[in-house]
Symmetry: C2
Subunit: 462 residues, 2 copies
């Protein structure tokens, strides 16, 4: 007989037929007449109730049915007699497949702190919270692929190991097979990376953008969705050493097109979550963040406010609110400024454009004022920047001039510059930090809780 998953059982319209349930015990309670066993199999946040008539079962036979044990239950799906569930299973046989010793199994009935659960990240997917987060993570990843596929974008796998540094900055992890204790040396005593696996010094990528641009110059509209890395010693609730990034890149898009795409994309994703993950979102709303569903609906229902950096600076200068950091034209905005704009002033998502070139990357298109670039940051309530992007500088001479100003080696970037030498076109793109999106959609407060096995300074467990 084939197993039916809990999600399907709970949605079943049929009654009175025999079903096979397999899953893990969440709780067991009862009296001398009847035992109720709540079983979950990860397909949904809801458990299904197994009812064991104690005329058919002995206490002894149910002794090993403890929290965390795996069970196989054969029984009849019936209308539930109790409250809170539509159907339940009247058990005919209950087999314990794998034990979970109540003395040592760490996930007992009582709630656990998120900090404690981080220490047992290999078991936390078995909790309601992380089951919900991981199902939402899956749904958001799928929605991203679905959105782009539907709109004619091609998924491109850009390399993880790279010899270039897209941002022109950012601390990177070195990838090597050289003997760490006694590496080969050049005549002047430096490490001889020509003998390393790739014949040169290589790192883990910080962004797939530059390779993405290359592909957009052939396929028109592409996106990347892959792991990216920062070797920054940041022990915060917003930083990971390894995280996933989504980077669409589009030929023939100007900044306006770029903003239209970013807005449509984000609202599609949030709507998808509301349409496909409402049970999980409701749980997270009830347990962690009573404003969560309201905030998600808010994003779906409101157009994003678009304004320039300069306009934002003027608003912030006139603001009655005291800021810790002073607002000066030419400096980057702080999180407190971004949140003021989104949460207090406009009370909706905001897209800021045309930042001073000094605070942005070399590849962003210079405006005619020679001072600002066609950058855009999408700011969200509670999160701040969720997307950063720009129209790219498609003019070869201007791009080279900017690289020279910033000491970015042209020679290593020959292939990137070729896109501006041969059939260059106006183009744009942006980056969405996948875990940033998940912080917003799940309402979780710590980025380590929206990825299965977080990587951060001094921690690469599991």
């Amino acid at each position: 007989m084939k197993r039916t998953k809990v999600k399907a059982l709970l949605q079943s319209a049929e009654r009175g037929h025999e079903v096979l349930l397999k899953g893990w015990v969440r709780t067991k309670r009862g009296n001398k007449y009847v035992t109720f066993i709540a079983v979950n199999d990860g397909s949904t946040i809801h458990n299904i109730q197994v009812v064991a008539d104690m005329n058919l079962f002995t206490d002894e036979s149910l002794r090993d049915v403890t929290t965390g044990a795996s069970v196989s239950v054969l029984g009849t799906l019936v209308e539930s007699q109790g409250k809170g569930q539509s159907v339940e299973i009247q058990a005919r046989t209950i087999e314990v497949i794998g034990l979970a010793d109540p003395e040592t199994y760490p996930l007992q009935k009582k709630g656990h702190s998120l900090e404690f659960l981080r220490e047992i990240a290999h078991l936390r997917p078995r909790t309601n919270t992380f089951g919900a987060v991981l199902r939402i993570r899956h749904a958001m990843a799928f929605a991203i692929h679905r959105y782009f596929n539907h709109n004619g974008f091609f998924y491109v796998h850009t390399p993880v190991i790279t010899a270039s540094d897209a941002e022109g900055a950012g601390e990177m992890f070195r990838v090597t097979t050289l003997d760490p204790i006694n590496p080969p040396r050049t005549e002047d005593g430096q490490v001889d990376f020509s003998q390393d696996f790739f014949g040169k010094s290589t790192n883990l990528t910080v962004s797939g953008q530059l390779e993405g641009e290359v592909c957009a110059m052939a396929l028109s509209e592409i996106y990347t969705f892959g792991p990216t890395f920062r070797a920054e010693n940041s022990n915060t609730s917003r930083h990971l050493a390894e995280f996933w990034m989504v980077e669409p890149e589009m030929a023939f898009y100007d900044l306006e097109d770029n903003m239209d795409l970013a807005e449509d994309f984000l609202r599609y994703l949030v709507r998808y979550a509301l349409d496909h993950c409402l049970d999980d979102l409701q749980f997270l709303n009830d347990m962690y963040d009573k404003e969560l569903l309201a905030r998600l609906n808010f994003v779906v229902e409101h157009d994003f406010q678009r304004l320039t950096y300069s306009e934002a600076v003027a608003i912030l200068r006139d603001a009655k609110q005291k800021f810790e950091y002073k607002v000066d034209w030419g400096t980057d905005l702080q999180s407190e400024h971004e949140r003021y704009l989104v949460e207090k002033h406009f009370k909706k998502p905001v897209i800021l454009t045309n930042y001073p070139k000094e605070v942005k990357s070399f590849y962003m298109k210079l405006n005619d004022d020679n001072k600002t670039v066609r950058a855009m940051d999408v700011l969200f309530p509670g999160i701040g920047e969720i997307i950063g992007g720009s129209q790219r500088e498609e003019n070869y001479d201007k791009l080279v001039a900017r690289m020279q100003e910033l000491n970015i080696p042209e020679k290593e970037m020959w292939w990137y510059l070729d896109t501006r030498r041969f059939g260059s076109v106006p183009h744009s793109g942006f980056g969405l930090g996948f875990e940033r999106l998940l912080l917003f959609v799940t309402g979780m407060g710590n980025i380590r809780d929206v990825i299965p096995f977080p990587r951060f300074p001094k921690s690469a467990e599991f």
Copy 2:
């Protein structure tokens, strides 16, 4: 006016309306009355023909319309007068957006060798061949997500940076931020990895399986799809240092269920390619591999032959064919043996099961004979092994015994072993090398030609 992509133009039922085309020039030819410009934008392998009436245009105005240049064309979509295309564009205006100097642009009309194109991997997506390969690559990635999403599997991102080695072997890349020239040392002169970024020695993952198993023990059915790495000095047409792997892992699946899934999955993917990429497949069939479409249809139409390793050994021993390597029970099969079984003996895809434990990994479930494990390899025509998988050993004691035999450190694997201590269940999974799949589906002969920017010994360009 909004741009329409070539794919949509070619499929358009409407005629006589004005359209805006943006793309890159593939060819230009003509006479003094008319100029024909073939334009491609990557949305399809087909070009659209732009017709410039030389009463409206001058040679001078079309001088920069050269192969590789980017153009914006405003014109009327009309029934084509010529052969080979249904519609064409009668141009009203033709604007060259970005030049491509015919003296220096590497991709001129003539065909280029795949070897040469590998040297300019940043431009090769602009060729018919790599446009086709990249579109198929996208379609296969999407089909993988679609298949699993539809069947209730959850996508899990397993870590790229890891301190563990799933295979218990395999050469790995070290990930580090230590000073390469003068790393910190312990008292006994070794490198002090406790001072490294993660507080220990870390590597790039060779497989997400172990973390995948952990998640399947909570969510029932999961899959990974991410980059994996091998620091092997293999300069072959079948090996990459960085490649993408798909690894489903399913609780409550035995080996039979695992085979059923693998077979259904592979046939779904090949059918998806035939349904969604026929133009690109037809091109590759015509240009590179006249058997390609026949081979793909063959897989869709035939059940896979299932037999044990021992049965295969018996067949190979009785074979009339001379093999380079002798077939002995207990040794791994060579590619020549696998291909004989698939291409000569059964003439269909084959799944071999129950291999000698010595040639397989520690985590595979031991059969009652104590000699073989519940492994399965799916063998494909032309490719050999396309999937490797197994039922996993769910028994704690047997797993630990096997780890001890193979000197796999239990202490580092405490979290993996916990899955067998708490609510263990029979479970199975497999790995599909994404580029192996693409070799099969595209018919390309070299794995470096089915990934945008290949990584192999002495090469991390772009």
